[in-house]
Symmetry: C2
Subunit: 205 residues, 2 copies
DNA sequence: TCCATATTGTAGTGCTCGCTACAAATGTGG
DNA sequence: CCACATTTGTAGCGAGCACTACAATATGGA
């Protein structure tokens, strides 16, 4: 059997370029022409490799979350809820203003409201944002079980709160806020979690 | 001199309908066909009255902020920084989940990232969001001068923080969070400002 | 060497976009 | 009742959209 003409581009490299376009212009604002030019390929190659514009977005989102996985694990491995929050928010302040990427977070910039033809894109992004919140909730539940968070603390509410602050920072970054501005916001938020922490945590590790 | 055929629609009513379409679908996701249908007019009437799609958005934004002006003044008239924040965030939790409007905030849902042809729409929205932050900053500066906020408090940072939380809540609301969820976030954030308040404020009002 | 298979580049497809030309309609002032 | 000014509805403009038909090209296997 024959194998066929080999593809001239690297799938993941092309996906990185597409990610950047979606990140900067949003799903609806990104055109196939912009995407193909950034990816260095022609439309038929794009459609053969990814299927559709929306499927390309999903592939880019998969790669986006996969890229942050290692960092997320490092964040969640911090010994206390307060330290988890601090690493998380300070990391976000840095990442969202990293000049080697578009500002903000792809899961927000991708599109909060879309036209009727792409109505499920906002859902897709929201579902991926919810994953981070869930990871935080689990971590905070563990913190409470370990006596690190106060008895009165609500892990789900805290996770929602941290998640909301992250989103707010993302929007700030996308409209031009610099790292110091984001770090100031992070600092205030970190104290909120600190406030609900037990003063002398068990710190069993 | 003659006066001409009278217009058959009310400008502000039509603007309200347009506002809702932009709110629900974003600037790029809203089509002229959707707008004219919601406004109950035909394209030539829209263009004669507002000039262009972008000018229509700006008119809708003007109306949006004008509508909230009275509420903002009521919020800012609260006696302490803590109370200002509480009224603000609890009001936001309620307004952003009010079923008589699309969820979230028009200044966020309108569009964070846009295609190259509408690049200044995100700027326009960011500028309007910045106004709220500025109002909060002024109010917090006054609070500090009145001895209501601690000496160590940074009014600008606090205003940025509250502004970021509002934005985060807006995104949460747009992806389906209910009022209780938003109120929980608000509650945590309010405690952050409380923490920077002087325990027995001068409360000179 | 020739076939089978897959990708490539060119050049479009139909469709919807924001926007407008134009003529009929509807009012006021003389 | 006529002349003028403005709006209305119809119909359609060029441009750009996501997407694809097709032929040329490049590989591995027989």
């Amino acid at each position: 059997m024959a194998i066929g003409r080999p593809r001239t581009f690297d799938r993941d490299t092309a996906l990185d370029q597409a990610m950047e376009v979606f990140w900067r212009h949003g799903y609806e604002g990104a055109t196939i022409a912009q995407l193909t030019e950034a990816m260095g390929i022609n439309p038929p190659s794009l459609y053969a490799a990814f299927g559709s514009k929306e499927a390309l977005l999903k592939a880019a989102l998969d790669r986006y979350t996969a890229r942050r996985e290692a960092w997320m694990e490092e964040v969640l491995s911090a010994p206390t809820a307060r330290e988890v929050t601090a690493r998380m928010l300070m990391g976000v302040a840095e990442k969202q203003t990293d000049p080697s990427n578009p500002p903000g977070c792809l899961l927000v910039q991708g599109g909060l409201a879309c036209g009727s033809g792409s109505a499920n894109v906002p859902f897709e992004l929201a579902a991926r944002r919810a994953q981070t919140e869930e990871q935080l909730r689990h971590r905070f539940e563990r913190a409470k079980a370990e006596g690190d968070l106060a008895e009165a603390a609500d892990p789900a509410a805290l996770a929602r709160y941290v998640s909301a602050v992250i989103t707010g920072m993302s929007v700030m970054a996308s409209s031009g806020a610099d790292r110091e501005a984001l770090a100031q916001v992070a600092e205030v938020a970190i104290r909120s979690v600190e406030e609900q922490s037990v003063r002398a945590p068990i710190a069993a590790n």
